[in-house]
């Protein structure tokens, strides 16, 4: 008997028929093998819809793992750096997990149904790592990546869209996670730093969900968006991205590309007091002995985006920009940058970035000032207000 060949290239995700109908720009990219929009219409207007109206972004290509069983809490606590017992039922937590050297494997969001039932969502394939980590624990790990569809609804009118769609989330606080209807879960989470929700349904229930939200969004400026728009918003919010701001250590070919949560600025997410977890000894050593790098938020002079720019302390090269954009909302030139210690920690003055600008066939070099920021670039109270305002 012959087997049908597996498809070559990108395959459609659960929302694809709707996305394809809306795609004027025909910009698609590869996200975990799915056809994911980089831009549907115009990245600029899609971006502004995140900060001014409401937006839908298909996040179904995320990897999703269900961890169930009597030891689920203990097993997850053994894997991730933060104390998961502090995350209540019906709550979501941002988590990171490391190898034995304390190097970050990936970050993600952990959804807690109960002490014995969790879902972990992340960018990287993590099935085998979780199966390995489950050894000795009474848990079952299931890959739900192709079973659960999800869409991020983000922007100041996101709450109004849900309300008009008949979904009551007025009392949900940030990081709450509820089954609002049978098989329809909503979390107040997102990757934009703005008011927003993520809606989770079975894969085959994706299109009715989309249509329901789309109809309700009519009066609230709802737009579908691609990755390019989201990219700007997530840097404004100060969120890090795998493959850009850190290299997931399991995926890196070259040695010494790994970074620890402490080096990425997430020391507060490492809970040494909760008992053993992967990488604990290495991270303890680093906490006491000092970090090698510091990922920092920086504000740059000038208006030219600083992606990949080298950073200097006087004449010495001390780091580089990992993600840089012009921020249309805050009207600042912003970036995340990795600096070699002690720069970015004890030495924060006299930093300059070298930005290259292509001026119609000639490269021009700009040296601009660098100021380290401790807070996210975009902060707006509407992201946290409960119940949220109409816009």
């Amino acid at each position: 008997m012959t087997h049908e060949a597996v498809p070559i290239g990108l395959i459609p995700g659960p929302f694809h028929p709707r996305l394809e109908a809306l795609s004027r720009a025909k910009g698609w990219m590869d996200w975990a093998g799915y056809m994911s929009p980089s831009v549907l219409d115009t990245a600029e207007f899609e971006y502004f819809a995140i900060r001014n109206q409401a937006t839908l972004f298909d996040i179904s290509p995320m990897h999703k793992y269900r961890i169930t069983g009597p030891d689920a809490l203990a097993m997850i606590n053994r894997v991730v750096t933060r104390d998961v017992s502090r995350i209540g039922d019906g709550r979501v937590g941002y988590v990171m997990w490391c190898d034995e050297e304390g190097m970050l494997i990936d970050d993600g969001t952990l959804f807690r149904f109960s002490e014995t039932d969790f879902r972990l969502c992340c960018q990287e394939r993590m099935f085998l790592w979780l199966l390995d980590a489950a050894w000795g624990f009474d848990v079952t790990v299931t890959d739900e990546s192709d079973a659960v569809a999800a869409v991020a609804l983000q922007g100041p009118t996101a709450y109004s869209v849900l309300r008009d769609a008949g979904l009551d989330v007025g009392q949900m606080k940030p990081f709450d996670w509820h089954e609002v209807e049978t098989d329809l879960w909503i979390s107040r989470t997102g990757f934009t730093g703005d008011l927003g929700y993520e809606i989770w349904v079975p894969w085959d229930a994706a299109l009715p969900l989309w249509d329901r939200l789309w109809a309700a969004g009519n009066h609230w400026g709802l737009r579908a968006i691609g990755f390019d728009a989201l990219h700007i918003a997530r840097i404004e919010a100060g969120f890090i991205a795998a493959g850009m701001d850190f290299q997931p250590v399991h995926a890196a070919m070259r040695l010494h590309r790994g970074r620890t949560p402490i080096e990425l600025g997430f020391g507060r997410m490492v809970h040494f007091d909760k008992g053993h977890f992967n990488g604990r000894r290495a991270l303890l050593k680093q906490r006491d002995g000092g970090q090698r790098y510091a990922l920092v938020k920086i504000d740059l002079g000038g208006f030219k985006p600083a992606q990949d720019a080298l950073i200097y302390h006087r004449k010495r090269e001390v780091g580089h920009v990992t993600s840089g954009v012009w921020s249309p909302t805050t009207k600042r030139n912003i970036a995340l940058a990795e600096l070699k210690a002690p720069y970015g920690i004890s030495r924060t003055d006299d930093l300059m970035a070298e930005i290259y600008v292509n001026q119609e066939g000639r490269w021009d070099r700009r040296l601009v000032s660098v100021t380290i920021q401790d807070k996210p670039f975009f902060i707006n109270a509407r992201a946290r207000t409960t119940p949220p305002a109409a816009f």
Partner: protein, 544 residues
């Protein structure tokens, strides 16, 4: 009882007065801003006149607001968010349109639909305009060089201008001088063949200006409108979320956070002058305040014709002020709509409907509109720049309902009625007649527009003068023609924001580089004031 005294007082809480105030307060000066209205903002205001709707009553779009200033004063932290809008369209009488598309390929295809040769013409046109923009933009946030002055700084600025001009080469410099002095009509005729495309592009050359499309100097006015940008997209325009008042609100909050004080509800009676120096202000309500530095955010005519005793000012200056051109040429309709009007010519949900919409289809028609104005009448076929911001900004109208802003040109300040020209001829009756004339023309694009109207505010040049204080209702605080630009703005010899009265400064759009909600005059004036106060280093030099 002692008189309250300040380091500096600013008269008028328009966006420029507030900008100057922010910089003075940040430099440590104890600064007071006085405002005649009960609200701040001047012509950058958001007001609710019909329950549920917010209007940007006067200025209605922004792009010229310098991002250097927005960033430096951290206005986004105070809630300012500028949202660009996409494209626009001009609708014709025969149920067609020319759409300006934000997508480059779509724009080329749309131009080709009207004239294949004009696709190439548009590429040439935009290259020329953008080159001129690149040339002029660095001067916006600089002191205008005075060629008659031997002051080292003027010489330095002049050298900068000469160097920039020299860099253009002889041919390009010749084009530049032509561009700055020619009419937008001639400029467009040189490029395009399609009347409709010419008419669509000509609007920017006459908005806010008492000139016709074939009047010399209007090409520069177009440039002035193209100089702006939203996040580096040159020529792009946007809305301020929540209306233009959000700009003033953010500036007001930044000013107060820096320690400044705002007093609303009483306008100025007079600038108090002693021995040729300003010593403070006297308000209409009888309050007086002392300050060695006083700045006027009012236009230069209003400042010197109404509030400074001419005894303190040389005759030459008074003459120059009196001849300063500040004619009102536009009216404004703010409309609450029960739903989006039908645009039968346009595809459903066309993105260009979210941009600026017009119904003037030829340069000849626009020129006739100007002829009416010269005779003291509003244009029988008015040009308008109309937008429906609520399609993008959910804060402006209830869900499903919309707010429309219609900038109307031409409308005279001194309306002619029965052979007599007077602002007093603007009555409820003439206001209604003007609005009806505009609705008639709007039906060209939206046949159901009259049925959609829930509420409308009609603002004539007289209303704009009375409420905002702009002389004759001129939106730029003085026309943007070459005779009163750069070192001649507002009047020759005083382009450095100073006046013959020591300590009295002009910070509004009467000064270089002019109007358009740029905040550049306010910031430039603050730099000059601080320099003279020995605090020049406390303000950043914006990169050229």
């Amino acid at each position: 009882m002692g008189v309250a005294s300040y380091d500096a007082i600013i008269v008028g809480a328009g966006h420029n007065g507030l900008t100057t105030g922010c910089y003075l307060a940040k430099a440590g000066l104890k600064t007071l801003i006085v405002e005649k209205n009960d609200w701040i903002g001047g012509a950058a205001v958001s007001r609710s006149l019909h329950d549920g709707w917010t209007y940007s009553n006067c200025s209605y779009v922004c792009s010229l607001l310098r991002r250097e200033i927005v960033r430096d004063l951290e206005l986004p932290r105070f809630g300012l968010q500028v949202i660009p809008y996409e494209g626009g369209a001009t609708f014709t009488e025969d149920n067609d349109y020319f759409a300006y598309m934000s997508d480059h390929n779509a724009l080329e295809r749309e131009i080709a639909r009207h004239s294949p040769r004009d696709v190439d013409a548009y590429a040439r046109f935009s290259q020329t305009v953008m080159r001129q923009c690149r040339f002029i933009r660095p001067f916006l946030l600089r002191h205008a060089p005075d060629p008659t002055s031997l002051h080292p700084r003027d010489l330095g600025e002049l050298a900068f201008l000469v160097k920039k001009a020299h860099g253009l080469g002889a041919k390009e410099l010749g084009e530049t001088i032509r561009f700055w002095t020619m009419s937008i009509g001639d400029f467009l005729d040189e490029h395009f063949e399609s009347d409709l495309i010419k008419a669509h592009l000509a609007g920017s050359g006459i908005i806010g200006t008492g000139l016709g499309v074939y009047s010399p100097g209007t090409a520069y006015v177009l440039l002035h409108h193209y100089m702006g940008d939203v996040d580096g997209a040159i020529g792009a325009w946007g809305f301020a979320r929540g209306g233009m008042g959000s700009i003033s609100k953010a500036l007001g909050m930044a000013f107060e956070e820096a320690g400044g004080e705002i007093r609303t509800g009483s306008g100025i009676d007079s600038f108090r002058v002693k021995d040729g120096k300003v010593v403070g202000v006297a308000l209409e309500n009888g309050d007086t305040f002392d300050a060695p530095i006083v700045a006027s955010n009012m236009d230069i005519k209003r400042t010197f014709q109404r509030h400074v005793d001419p005894i303190h000012v040389p005759d030459d200056f008074t003459k120059a002020v009196n001849r300063f051109k500040i004619r009102g040429s536009s009216a404004k309709l703010n409309i609450a709509l029960d739903r989006l009007p039908e645009f039968p010519a346009a595809p459903k949900d066309a993105p260009f409907l979210r941009g600026d919409l017009h119904c003037s289809t030829s340069l000849a028609e626009l020129e006739r509109g100007y002829d009416d104005w010269k005779d003291g009448r509003w244009s029988s076929e008015p040009y308008f720049d109309m937008l429906i911001p609520s399609q993008i900004d959910p804060t402006m109208a209830p869900p499903g309902k919309h707010m429309m802003t219609v900038f109307v040109q031409y409308a005279p300040y001194d309306l002619e009625r029965g052979g007599v020209r007077s602002g007093q001829n603007w009555t409820d009756e003439t206001r209604t007649a003007l609005a009806n004339c505009v609705y008639d023309k709007m039906e060209q694009a939206m046949p159901d527009i009259r049925q959609r109207i829930v509420h409308a505010e009609v603002r004539t040049p007289l209303d704009i003068e009375n409420e905002v204080g702009l002389t004759e209702g001129n939106i730029f605080q003085g026309e943007l023609t070459f005779d009163q630009l750069l070192f001649n703005r507002p009047v020759p010899g005083y382009s450095d924001y100073s006046t013959p009265v020591e300590g009295l400064f002009m910070v509004g759009s009467s000064s270089h580089p002019g109007g358009g909600v740029m905040a550049a005059p306010g910031a430039n004036a603050a730099r000059e004031i601080l320099r003279r106060a020995g605090k020049g280093k406390s303000m950043p030099r914006f990169a050229a």
